[in-house]
Symmetry: C2
Subunit: 444 residues, 2 copies
């Protein structure tokens, strides 16, 4: 095993699950491991405390007149449940079939460590970097990056840069370098519906009081019509229409055909908003998704209970020029208005992120395309991305700088799901990409 | 503590949860404890094996010319979750505020043991019983009594009797003796909706494939209209209308006013089928209830996942003259027809029970009314009951005999829910009731 892979395995062994407070010590230990590694490479590196999980900041020695490049990544990961579906332990990385299997392998530890190791390699080969480098790694990306914006504001001068690069998005197909120029945003909420003061016998009381599980189902059902169109009033008002060149390019992008979506998801058939391809539905159209629904008896067999409460965890993926705060307020009004009689509703508003779009033909965009071509020896494609990186818009707002999205994640990487994985070849290409990128950005 | 309460505490300490196979040994141990107790009283008692949990059968010495009375009860109990809501351990009985607190205290261990101890007392006081007695106690009532019907058929001659008595239904209010003459039946099913082959990232794939949690919510929502009327085609076809005398009597029955239902359930308001009181809705009208709904992320915080599958556990309470098999077939057709595109549906049909009604003015009904009056020193009321006792109709079908429902359960007994309880005075009245009942039935 190469030293690079050994480093990645060490990094992946930390159970740095940010959403669940019982893993707080693992998140911190993971951040401290990064500090050690960065200092060992000769960078200055510091762990910055936040109200929750620490931020890692590192720099080389900055030289007047050079471009300053900020590379962002996150070392926190999603929860692992259902654990029983993992073929090997989520925090016991393994290589099988040319892929590295572990929680965070793709999202985001594998991709961010490739940048770190690319820098290490350049430093070893060249003695110095062609740019002024800032590494900014956070531990709260999977929970909405609440403490990053205050950190950016407090360290605005120190973080001044010309351009930002992130590898936390998708590659359309193996071997096809991909430059992302847009992201969906997100608005999250949890709906809790409460009825009787405790669970009731459904025989003795069924028929006389509203059932919170029925009520939550009716609320969820009210979000869409039969064709999958979202029914929240004003939801589509600010959606920016697709441009013709985008639809033409995306129709030719490999890896995102209807058959590809069927193969990767394993769904019995595709389903979505009429008049759009699957790529268009996921990259440029908003959604309303149930991430979790629950209430009443969850165990084996049956239990004739009328539950006291039920919940639905909802997220709305939004696109330019929708605003997450506006959207979640519209959703809240919709849910409160649709709440069935006999129950009480609470809508807890969760994290959010702005949607994002930039120009892939700027000088930095062109430099990134060249670096991608060098790393993969193929022409890059230009796409948007269905996921959300909550801080890309924040970088633009606070630092006034655009972000290059140099994604290395494959569609079947199983991120946020059991059996997450990352191809060894993408990890190695990521290291080459970092070296080429810093060179091209220095020269552009 | 009296010897009777000591016996009840011993009985309640068995975790005889029938639905969950990990408690199988506890169910059996509970049945064996009954055998010991019955034999100690001088009855012949035998544990009969079934494919799942054993049946307890006991008799006194039968004398030609006497009436034969079968008393039925069940020694299995409902699951206890959510365990965190119990004030004291569900299998660690305690007396507080004049009530016995434990799983099964009311449903059905407290009520059935009162009959057993009434017989013990009569034997001690009189040396013999006035009737030929059969005790029949099963361990599968909470899971649909699948093995009782074959047992009845196999032991039809041995179980020949004139009338059956069961205490497993409600008293309308403390101190008001209650004779039940009708029960709702039940049809159960579980709907499982499957979409992608595994959980997906809701950003990368949301919008392109159907979400099984959304689909299951839409299916549940399709069961009712906005007024709570069930939308399954033909669902109400065979519902027997209420008779005028029933509506008049029920309007005067204490403990079942709209305010009583509000107080006992703690629901923010009542909700049900238009044109019926709460008593009528629960005693004589059918329902469609969600007993459990689930899918996707259930933990703390959020997880942006598009779940691979979701489920709903449904039960339908049915009334004379609906048929549970006919109803569940109608429900299955409804769910399959309403299944949204992009997912696959499986409808697993569960247990069922016939609804029941008999004449409360028969000679046995009148004897039961007299016994109730003696035990409680008050006039009994005549009601139906919202719950299901799956085997009452089976007794009629196999043994050709009607059942007297002599309920001792209060509305706030929390049966099937955390903090189940049974008043000590009802336990003591149950012992008196058994003694009076056998005397009145012998003489009628």
């Amino acid at each position: 095993m190469t030293n690079e892979l050994k480093d990645l395995f060490s990094f992946l062994r930390f159970a740095s699950v940010s959403t669940d407070s019982k893993y707080a010590a693992d998140v911190r230990a993971c951040g401290e491991w990064l500090i050690q590694k960065l200092q060992g490479m000769g960078l200055t590196a510091e762990l910055h405390e936040t109200p929750r999980h620490p931020i890692v900041l590192a720099k080389n020695e900055h030289v007047e007149g050079r471009k300053t490049v900020l590379i962002y990544g996150h070392y926190d990961v999603q929860p692992v449940d259902p654990l029983s579906l993992w073929k090997t332990g989520p925090f016991e990385p393994e290589i099988r079939d040319g892929r590295i299997w572990a929680r965070g392998a793709t999202d985001n530890k594998g991709q961010m460590l490739a940048h770190l190791l690319g820098v290490e390699k350049t430093l070893r080969e060249e003695g110095e970097l062609p740019v002024n480098l800032i590494f900014l790694f956070e531990g709260e990306e999977e929970i909405g990056s609440a403490n990053l914006k205050p950190f950016l504001e407090a360290h605005k001068d120190e973080l001044k840069c010309d351009v930002i690069a992130i590898s936390d998005t998708g590659m359309v197909a193996p071997g096809v370098p991909t430059l992302g120029y847009g992201l969906r945003g997100i608005s999250a909420c949890e709906v809790i519906v409460r009825g009787p003061k405790g669970d009731l016998h459904s025989g003795l009381f069924g028929g006389a009081v509203a059932n919170p599980a029925t009520a939550v189902a009716r609320l969820v059902a009210s979000l869409h019509d039969d064709n999958g169109r979202i029914q929240v009033e004003g939801f589509y008002d600010d959606v920016r229409p697709l441009e013709d060149w985008e639809r033409e390019m995306w129709a030719k992008v490999p890896g995102v055909s209807e058959q590809d979506f069927l193969d990767v998801t394993g769904s019995p058939s595709l389903f979505g908003e009429e008049g759009y391809s699957s790529a268009e539905r996921t990259w440029a159209r908003p959604t309303a998704e149930v991430n979790g629904i629950g209430g009443g008896y969850q165990g084996e067999g049956s239990k004739t209970v009328l539950p006291a409460e039920a919940f639905a965890k909802l997220t709305f993926r939004i696109v330019p020029d929708q605003d997450p705060v506006d959207i979640i307020q519209k959703v809240k009004r919709h849910l409160e208005a649709k709440c069935p009689p006999g129950v009480e509703i609470e809508v807890k508003i969760g994290h959010d992120a702005q949607p994002y779009a930039t120009d892939p033909h700027s000088k930095f965009g062109l430099a990134a395309q060249t670096a991608l071509k060098k790393a993969f020896n193929a022409d890059p494609v230009l796409i948007r991305e269905g996921g959300s990186i909550p801080i890309v818009q924040t970088f633009r707002d606070v630092l006034g700088v655009d972000t290059l999205l140099l994604g290395l994640a494959l569609a079947d990487a199983q991120i946020h799901a059991p059996n997450e994985n990352f191809p060894v070849e993408n990890f190695e290409a990521g290291i080459r990409l970092n070296q080429a990128l810093l060179k091209e950005l220095a020269a552009c």
